[in-house]
């Protein structure tokens, strides 16, 4: 069941000004597995997620201590190419955020940013990316329609496809289903199962049943600490830390 560690986090602390949002986090993320991060609001799980592709850099006053090794390279080292890091470690957000462009342009936008101009290449990528999120058959005749005309679920799928087009290795998902109904949620979860063959997925979710259903590993965050991390089966049947037990049984939060 174990694969290689694609991300190794060592003694990571993150501060927003004088507030310490993450306290000495140590965690290994396995490749081609789904890792779920759970915990009450403000526990640091989203901060942790955003640290993994240095999205927190965009927040003023953020200070980071410790290491995040992605494929053995510390992402905080000064020679890190941020554009390249964010291509390899992409993010899907809570609310689908397609560009106000056509469906096709949404997919090819990132590729153009990364310097790809070949029309055939772009068309093939468009096909493959939409196919990977099971949107091709639905949308192949509407590729020039504005992406904002799609349903919420289609938009979220499109955002995932847009990410896959630039061939990431890790997909970070921040509450990707919170704006979707249960049927759309189930379909996105099915998609996650398919995607984990080729990608590593880390998902932040408030929905504990979702974490239990989709993930191989679960980490529980509380007040900036990683309280417990382990195989999802173990966390949901026999958590070791009483704080985890209280949270997943609904006694706390």
């Amino acid at each position: 069941m174990t694969t290689r560690n694609i991300i190794e986090v060592k003694n990571l602390s993150v501060f927003y000004g004088s507030f310490q949002a993450l306290k000495d986090i140590n965690i290994n993320i396995q490749a081609n597995r789904i890792t779920a991060l759970i915990g009450p609001s403000g526990c640091g799980k989203s901060t942790f997620l955003r640290t993994l592709n240095r999205m927190n850099d965009l927040i003023e006053g953020t200070r980071t201590v410790g290491q995040v090794l992605f494929d053995g390279q510390n992402i905080f080292s000064p020679d890190t190419d941020l554009l390249e890091l964010r291509r390899r470690v992409g993010m899907v957000f809570q609310r689908p955020n397609p560009f106000p462009l056509s469906i096709a342009e949404n997919i090819t936008y990132g590729l153009r940013v990364h310097g790809h101009k070949n029309k055939l290449f772009l068309e093939e990528k468009l096909y493959k990316s939409l196919q990977a999120v099971n949107l091709w058959d639905e949308l192949k005749d509407r590729l020039t329609d504005n992406a904002l005309s799609l349903t919420g679920e289609q938009q979220q799928r499109l955002c995932i496809a847009r990410l896959l087009a630039v061939e990431p290795e890790v997909v970070l998902m921040d509450e990707p289903c919170s704006a979707l109904d249960p049927v759309a949620t189930a379909r996105i979860e099915d998609l996650m199962y398919e995607l984990k063959k080729n990608y590593t997925i880390i998902i932040v979710t408030h929905n504990m049943q979702q974490a239990a259903r989709v993930s191989d590993f679960t980490g529980y965050f509380l007040l900036g600490e990683l309280v417990e991390f382990g195989e999802t089966n173990q966390i949901f049947t026999s958590p070791k830390d009483p704080r985890t037990e209280d949270y997943i049984t609904g006694r706390f939060g």
Binding site: T237, E245, T249
Partner: protein, 222 residues
């Protein structure tokens, strides 16, 4: 934080205690029927079994509802799933009390083949194991559960003793004694099976409390 769910769990616990009390009474009465060769007591045990069967169904339904409606996790989940399993064992124990009572009905009108020595010992052991298994569940006491499991080999030995005595001293020597000897042999077998179910309950209690699997790993108890 108190949860409405806790009231539901208490309710489930109460139902299991009610069933346990009935099952303990069924074993006690079937053993009394055997000791006294009492038709009346044996028939009472058989009659009471319907109620125990109904309680089993009720508890199962309650457990399924709690799982479907609350999606419990961790200790809550272990409690509910183990409750279901323990209920199955309790129901089987009650069935074995019925089996013992049926043997009593078969032999009640004839003189006893032999004075009962080891069977009452086995009966006392079985009753004690069931009682302690149930108490270990009620008090969430893994140590008591462990002591039940360790007694199981004693039950096997007593059953073997009864069996070889009945075969060698009676059935081989006097084939005419076979029908009465077989009835006693079956009683020993029923009692030993009761001990097995008490052991199952105790193993489930250990998992419920400590999330440790001791089933099929007797060495982990030592």
């Amino acid at each position: 934080m108190t949860r409405y769910f806790d009231e539901e769990l208490l309710e489930l616990n109460k139902k299991i205690l009610e069933m346990s009390a009935k099952v303990e009474a069924a074993i006690g009465n079937s053993i009394k029927a055997l000791r006294e060769l009492s038709r009346e007591k044996a028939e009472a045990v058989i009659k009471e079994d319907d109620r125990i069967d109904r309680m089993e169904l009720e508890i199962e339904e309650k457990c399924l509802n709690l799982i479907a409606l609350y999606q419990p996790a961790a200790a809550d989940l272990r409690f509910i799933v183990m409750s279901m399993k323990i209920t199955t064992d309790l129901e089987r124990i009650a069935d074995l009390a019925v089996d013992i009572s049926q043997r009593v009905l078969e032999i009640a009108d004839q003189p006893l083949l032999k004075p009962l020595i080891d069977i009452p010992k086995l009966a006392t052991l079985a009753q004690g194991m069931v009682k302690d298994a149930i108490n270990s569940f009620v008090n969430k006491d893994p140590e008591l559960a462990r002591s039940v499991i360790l007694r199981d080999s004693e039950a096997d030995e007593l059953r073997n003793l009864v069996q070889s005595e009945l075969i060698n001293d009676y059935m081989r020597k006097d084939p005419e004694s076979a029908p009465r000897a077989v009835a006693l042999l079956l009683v020993a077998r029923h009692l030993e099976r009761i001990c097995d179910h008490a052991t199952n309950i105790s193993e489930d209690v250990i998992y419920m409390v400590k999330a440790e699997v001791v089933k099929h790993h007797p060495e982990s108890l030592k």
